[in-house]
Amino acid sequence: MEIATLNLNMLGLLPEIVLLTMACLILVIDAYLPKHQRYLTYQLTQGTLIGTALLIFASFPEQRVLAMNDMFISDPMGAVLKLFIVLMVFFAFIYSREYLRDRNILKGEYFVLGLFAVLGMMIMVSAHSLLTVYLGLELLSLSLYTMIAMHHKSQTASEAAMKYFVLGAIASGMLLYGMSMLYGVTGTLDLTRLAQTINQIANDHTVSVAILEKISEIKNDNIAVIAIGQQITENAGGATAAIAQILSENTDNTAAIAAIKPIIDQTMQSYTILLFGLVFVIIGVAFKLGAVPFHVWIPDVYQGAPTAVTLFIASAPKIAAFAMLMRLLVDGLQGLQVDWQNILILLSILSMATGNIIAIAQTNIKRMLAYSTIAHVGYLMLGVLTGTQEGYAASMFYVVVYALMTLGAFGMIILLSRAGFEADQLDDFKGLNERNSWYAALMLIVMLSMAGMPPMIGFWAKWSVLAQVIDAGFIWLAIVAVMFAIIGAFYYLRIIKLMYFEKAEDKTPIEANIDMRIALSANALIILLLGIMPQTLMVVCLGALGVS
């Protein structure tokens, strides 16, 4: 038997390969380390992340390059997203170490699973086949479930892990179901070929609809039907070509219509199945992003999981989910853009409304931030639904900024918490300014940015997606989005009010390691600095999507 010619091109996967190898090595090293040297696991993990980031940077692709038999793609967008994922996880690990140690859940497995989660995200970002999208997603999800459940002693963490696991499994099932339908119609898993076939079918569908309309208008006019045949030969291919062929050969109207009927039926049927597949795929992605109405897991999981894990789940995986959205909808299902645009508009409005309104009623800050995430996901989808490269770049900008802000907000909760105290109530932020004005200022920056106030970067993120929505002609949608942003500003400003205008109930001094303090300050200052110079990040995002 002949072996198919392989296009492995493994050099493009170097960051992934190094990451996987190091994760396995760290796993073994950690098992043999004596207890007092366990900090080495943490250092090795962070070292691996830095190494991976450097490798991604060094092998930055100029254009789209396929590898591993076209199942892996490295393009500028993927490389930029991967860099940010690694960066976010690096920060998340700095924040979480002390928190985990205080609660006696600092284990080597936590960091190893974190590395595997990063690997899963990188695979998702670079996926060029439905199969690799799914496998990357599973690798990520499985690691996340375990990271939550590792806090044995906490009832809420076990509950959160269970809910996440069950709902995540259902969502994966939905995604697979949708993928199987797409595969059933197109016969390929490869995203580029999928896009070509779907374009063809969408094209055939338009022609078929046009012909059906014409047929219902003219009953006994031979020339008209044949005229359609001459028209559609221009962009012929697939079913359209077949129809054109029949029409050009037949001069008898009824015979021609009878001959093209099965082809039209077939096209209609394929198109319907494609739409079903599209809906199920969107459900799967919307679940991972946390868009309404697939958001129910987010508040419970964010609140129940240990804050360090919430921080992890809320930041980098959202970037990966955005990448999944881009790979599936834009790379694979571009031909159905008219259809998914409407679905995304609906999801986006529901998310912005539900997230921003319910967040007002929360007293638990982790839960409040969970609803805020849902709202942010709504804004993030605004850019994608425009269907233009500029819109995608705006969404990419938004997701990176969102991850940065979430990292800062949850990092602050971790900073305030200590052994036996979680600092997850809004009231725990009362009088933070009295206790430590620097930390209060950092939280002020993060909250203002989340609310979308200039000059923070959060403002520019909202501004860029809204500008794209208006460019695409959805002025009403932009108005709705701004309305909900104003409603949403309330609960962010409430935290600022609590910090600056209320008396502190808890006077315990805030202690943290030097690396945590530096990282958190840097995190907030980056938000401020990028807000002053938003074009630096915007240029990166635009460049990643090939818009100059």
């Binding site: 198919a4 392989l6 591993m68 892996f72 699973l113 595997f116 690799t132 690798l139 499985l142 375990t146």
Partner: protein
């Protein structure tokens, strides 16, 4: 010849499958299920799908059913209680049965309209284990490796979630046992002697 073999295994399969749901003893039912798996594996072999046949026996008979039997034997189910409630549940069971029968009829009714599959015969030139192996380790090597990483994560997860480091496991320390002195173990206490009543 192949027809006779097919009908033989098919009959055994139908017999075993019906016994799975008719025998009262769950252990017997599980054993009949094993027989059903074996017969269907044999039918797969007749279709030259030897990989599926072997996988079925290794995975289902070798691992799943053995676990199943373990659990059944450990549970010590009271067989008599299983016989109760037949009449009470009959209407619901009959309804579900009727629905399933209807679905089967619909499926079979729609079946003959479908075009006949073409792909199945083309494979015969290469044994399908080899054919699977060929694409699995060449064309699909990347998903294959990712699947391996997922299994590794599942293993790490299972261990991290179930292993408690501070168990009540007791270890011997021979060096301490050898060097123990009488004073470490026995304490001599002086007490005044008591008078016998």
């Amino acid at each position: 010849m192949i027809k006779i073999t097919f009908y033989l295994f098919a009959l055994i399969l139908i017999f075993a499958a019906s016994r799975v749901i008719t025998v009262k003893n769950p252990v017997h039912a599980a054993l009949f299920l094993v027989l059903a798996f074996f017969s269907s594996a044999a039918i797969w072999l007749l279709l030259q799908a030897e990989f599926l046949a072997i996988a079925l026996i290794l995975v289902y008979v070798g691992a799943v059913m053995v676990l199943f039997l373990f659990v059944l034997m450990m549970l010590d189910i009271n067989v008599n209680s299983l016989r109760e409630g037949f009449v009470r549940h009959f209407p619901i069971a009959a309804f579900v049965g009727a629905v399933i029968l209807l679905e089967i009829i619909l499926v079979i009714g729609a079946w003959h309209k479908l075009p006949t599959p073409e792909a199945a015969t083309a494979l015969a030139a290469v044994p399908n284990t080899q054919a699977l192996g060929m694409v699995l380790y060449t064309e699909y090597v990347y998903p294959f490796e990712i699947a391996a990483a997922i299994l590794l994560v599942a293993m790490i997860a299972a261990i991290a979630l179930t292993m408690r480091p501070h168990t009540r496991a007791k270890y011997q320390k021979p060096e301490e046992q050898v060097s123990v002195r009488r004073e470490d173990r026995i304490k001599i206490v002086k007490m005044p002697s008591e008078t016998k009543d």
